[in-house]
Symmetry: C2
């Protein structure tokens, strides 16, 4: 195709040898998503080094009608950074734009490029006695741009919110190559609605995030991790309210798992010990943190909180981490749930949310329903109760071909689960995003008014439909 | 005009006698803005009682091409709720939609209609031991819908953010009459970008807010108000950082005023006493609050904070409220600055923000500049230092005709001030909004890329341009 050849010649001239490659060996690792569910192809991979280079490139794409698939660490869960298989799209890596421009210790914020890896960011601000309060499993590869485009969550959302709450300023290249530049944060600014919100969570379909100014918080000076055993998920919700009331903003984590999950984890980690002596229907991990101004009274406050919880009969048993090593050991149990579940055999996973207060009733109502409709399956819910966000896995019965099961029964179960979530006023994507994985389910179940707003704004900002086509909408 | 007559007949039939009036006496009070700067006219005033009624009405407007000017308490500062003088627009009062639907004490949130008055909301949630943490001078008339449409601020933004941070769920009628319904809050939801952000701060130009679910916080159990005297605004900024560090989230207010402002207030309030014995270049009001879980140690923590501030030489003098009556007396001084300034004679006012850390340098650089360029004027800055938002008044020299001065020199001063704010990376509207007052200044000084995004989204959501025409953009 002449147009493509012309485009690639122009792009190569504009970006230089490090900025554009057509070498299949170099591109290939980035054409399959992290979970291996989607593979696409691309006419080339561009790696601009600056916003100006990217702006020129996007203008070129716009004039040649070349679709763009932006990509950060390629560790998304929904195929949002994988091109389709037409080979027409340009794969756009933001990974070279990885400069940390400024850490303002007084104002507690950092300005950095979209390609900065989360773990690098953590380490850079820790050196200044500060913390970027968002973390997740993929922190070694996930980039700031990807985290913003997908409004990433993680295990500290309870206190600090998801990425949206942490983005103070933003820079992005729009579909016509213009640069939207709002990196300098104003705490108060009422010149119309907050335009940067269009770019947070829109998965690269409205613009390409190139840099951001992010909120930082004081470093954690000390923490206590509590492990508690409870008779039900409803009891866990009551305990959560008690902890919110007593610990306030110091409460950073409130994670739940059923006994079956813990059993799987203990099989998966032969050296690990169960935190409690007995068995309990549900287990809860509670994290309470303190900065240097509140560290002195942390343990005492946690003890008072738990003593009152015992007095009020809010739990069956509990233990408190006596050291940082024990705190880490408790977290390792929580973080091993997903790999331990994978060892149990083929399953379908759901990343869903319902209103926080409905979560216990939702899990109690829907688990038995799924297990009855698909005999032999096991429905397992675990995760962020404090956010109304539970990872809901349904494990296959003993089947000969797990892959075939996933494509038939598994698919039907997911549809059913998404129907149920929608009936309960929830979201089919709590934190992993829509990407290509759930695009059709969103079209099927999304509120028609919300979808028509999304499409109208998309068409207004990207009339040619060149930004990450086939994702989200 | 037949179309208008047809429209009014249809609207009257649809809304019933309480829902539509053409009585000039009833409409007239709502055609002039609160500050008396803008007066318009309207073909009628509609007061629908429900979202369904409003949806039908907006469909009717869309089919007849009738512009709509939504209005809450009519206490905005920028003429955003006043129609133009063509008489073509329908004035839309949301004041009948004033039901508080639910206060969920456990989940700490309230769902209510757009017409609920702020003070009514405060009282309703106080009855449940909770607090809606946003307050401002117009609380007796400002409505929830107006506060959301203008992303209102006030004196608790430092800790709790402006309206945007408090809106958990939203319902609105769009330009074609469809109802956007996202009242049930999901703490985590990644189905595209957060659509409700389009409606917060867009001044009724993208949709008409009909109801909201708002965040509540625990009631204040105790508070301490500190009054401090300082040598400079830079010193106030250093003291602010110290207080943020020591008090953390308990710091709710940090307001500044120069000695001249305090002098004017003391003339204005003959019964009031100066909090400190001596004179200081700048005065600071600091509010620290506690809920019931932290009230016991509040005073002690404030004393430690101030003792360390004295040790570090961060201030010249300070006093701490010994009672709630004294706390109120300190706040009365702050709240009387605007009326006291008005007594000093004709002036032009500016509601501006710059990045928080630049505020002292901005005030120190620009005040003398304005006073030199317009001899005899006095530039006075006071307000929310912690938010980088200062109300910047420029008082006229002794002139015979204050109104004429405001229209000539005053206008030139405002242009100059807005130029300076823009040069410093700030906003010409920190909290009062654009409305019709600053629309042309926004067009002149706004970032062209941001303005083109605003216009593109506006055109996509309201292609006929019927929602609050002539405001914002």
């Amino acid at each position: 195709m002449t147009t493509t050849t012309d485009f690639l010649d122009d792009a190569a001239a504009s970006l230089g040898p490090r900025g554009l490659t057509r070498d299949a060996d170099l591109i290939q690792p980035w054409l399959t998503d992290w979970r291996g569910r989607f593979t696409g192809s691309a006419c080339a991979m561009a790696s601009p080094a600056s916003t100006e280079e990217l702006s020129r490139l996007v203008r070129l794409c716009a004039s040649h009608g070349v679709p763009i698939v932006p990509q950060g660490g390629n560790s998304g869960m929904s195929g949002g950074a994988t091109p389709d298989d037409s080979g027409k799209a340009l794969l756009l890596s933001l990974r070279r734009m990885n400069t940390i421009h400024e850490i303002d210790v007084e104002a507690r914020r950092v300005t950095c490029g979209a390609g900065v890896v989360l773990q690098t960011l953590h380490e850079a601000v820790e050196d200044k006695g500060l913390r970027f309060p968002l973390t997740l499993g993929g922190k070694g590869s996930a980039t700031v741009g990807g985290l913003i485009s997908t409004n990433a969550g993680g295990s500290q959302v309870l206190r600090h919110g998801s990425m949206r709450a942490l983005v103070l300023g933003l820079e992005a290249v729009l579909a016509d190559g213009q640069v939207f530049s709002m990196l300098t944060p104003l705490k108060k600014d009422n010149r119309g609605f907050d335009l940067k919100q269009l770019l947070i969570g829109s998965e690269g379909t409205m613009g390409i995030v190139t840099a951001a100014t992010l909120k930082l918080v004081p470093a954690v000076a000390d923490r206590v991790v509590i492990w508690a055993g409870l008779p039900s998920l409803g009891a866990a919700r009551t305990l959560l309210l008690h902890c919110e009331d007593m610990a306030g903003d110091a409460l950073e984590g409130f994670e739940v798992m059923p006994q079956a999950c813990l059993d799987a984890v203990l099989r998966h980690l032969p050296d690990a010990r169960a935190p409690l002596a007995g068995r309990h229907a549900w287990h809860v991990l509670i994290e309470v943190v303190a900065d240097r101004t509140s560290a002195a009274t942390l343990r005492e406050r946690c003890e008072a909180m738990m003593a009152e919880a015992f007095d009020k009969d809010l739990l069956e048993d509990a233990t408190m981490s006596a050291s940082e090593a024990q705190a880490e050991a408790f977290w390792l149990l929580r973080e091993s749930v997903a790999p331990a579940e994978r060892e149990r055999g083929p399953a379908v996973q759901h990343d869903i949310s319902v209103p926080v207060e409905k979560m216990p009733a939702f899990v109690e109502a829907t688990g038995p329903m799924i297990e009855a409709e698909w005999p032999g399956t096991e429905a397992v819910a675990f995760g962020h109760l404090g956010d109304g966000n539970v990872h809901y896995h349904v494990i296959a019965p003993h089947v000969a071909d797990g892959l075939a099961w996933q494509k038939t029964d598994g698919k039907a179960i997911s549809r059913r689960m998404h129907d149920l979530v929608t009936e309960w006023g929830g979201s089919i994507s709590a934190e992993h995003g829509i990407g290509q994985l759930k695009r059709d389910e969103l079209a099927r179940l999304g509120d028609p008014v919300a979808l028509s707003m999304l499409r109208a704004v998309k068409h207004a900002l990207d009339p040619q439909g060149l930004l990450n086509p086939g994702k989200l909408i």
